[in-house]
Subunit: 159 residues, 2 copies
DNA sequence: AACAGACTGTTTGACAGCAGATGATTTTCG
DNA sequence: CGAAAATCATCTGCTGTCAAACAGTCTGTT
């Protein structure tokens, strides 16, 4: 402590003291801050987290609707509109009306999109190392597992 | 699986498959989702997360400036203005100029604020149980500790 | 066939976060 | 002392997300 002897009583370090070892409402702030930090760092690399995840998912499971994308990725429908707009404008995806259900699109990744995705994937390790450098590999695995568990419960809980 | 036999191919459960056990860019979304769920549930109780945290912190460490509040709680200065406005309007805090430094306020919790805080605190256990029911008590502690560790690193990293 | 209800994508309005500027005040330093 | 730099609270403009309303389409029931 007392690494920074600034003006008055800075370095109260209230937040850690509050949250450590005890689950609390402060966790809302904690996860929001973590998400934002990671998000900012990712967009810095040129491809936003949203766009990256969409390309990743399309590449993994094939064409699907914006609805499915936004549900699985926990991105709001209205936000997904903009993400797909941008990706389509950059020619990374195509949007074609599903002939069986003309309400929905069949969003498809293009070759250009696949190339862009592999470029972006190459940057991920460094990005993760920088964002989560405070955690050991084991702790990163823990964090991932815990959040995944919460997500899975959330998905089955609010069907 | 296949708990919901809906229309087409719902229940792909792509996200969990992607993120489990492996730290990934998807974690940005995961923490954002957790934050949002908790956030929504909290405001539902009448007192926003921001106001709640401010009262909690003032009660714990005594009067302090808006600057300190927003730094520790990771809430933007400009947002903190509004939060304190609302709390002051409800007579839950007082804002007095710090006599030693009249640039800053000494934000102080009132008796009314303390009562409101204990009302809100009483709802927390049920809220946490509901939001984090997928995790065991030990896992909740782990999650809390991991996020705290990340926050602490973030705070010291960008001082 | 006709209607009610649900679903998909989109638009709109409200709000948090961030960056930058401002006014009042304090601190630092020549 | 007095000027320059720093700090606190506030405001404004911008971006991104969320919630609600909307139009078009599909499904199920009568």
């Amino acid at each position: 402590m007392a690494t920074t002897t600034r003006t008055t009583d800075r370095g109260t370090a209230y937040f850690p003291r509050l949250a450590a070892e005890r689950l609390d409402i402060a966790l809302c702030r904690a996860s929001a801050t973590v998400a934002r930090a990671a998000d900012a760092h990712a967009t810095e690399e040129g491809l936003g987290v949203g766009q990256h995840l969409v390309l990743q998912m399309l590449d993994a499971i094939g064409p699907c609707s914006q609805q499915t994308l936004s549900e699985e990725l926990r991105i709001d429908r209205s936000v997904m509109v903009g993400i797909c707009d941008d990706l389509e404008k950059a020619d990374h995806v195509r949007r074609e009306r599903n002939p069986r259900d003309r309400r929905s699109y069949a969003v498809t990744i293009t070759d250009s999109g696949r190339r862009r995705l592999s470029q972006a994937q190459a940057l991920i390790p460094a990005f993760l190392e920088d964002t989560f450098q405070a955690l050991t590999p084991a702790e990163r695995g823990q964090l991932s597992a815990l959040l995944t568990k919460l997500l899975r419960a959330d998905a089955s809980g609010s069907h």
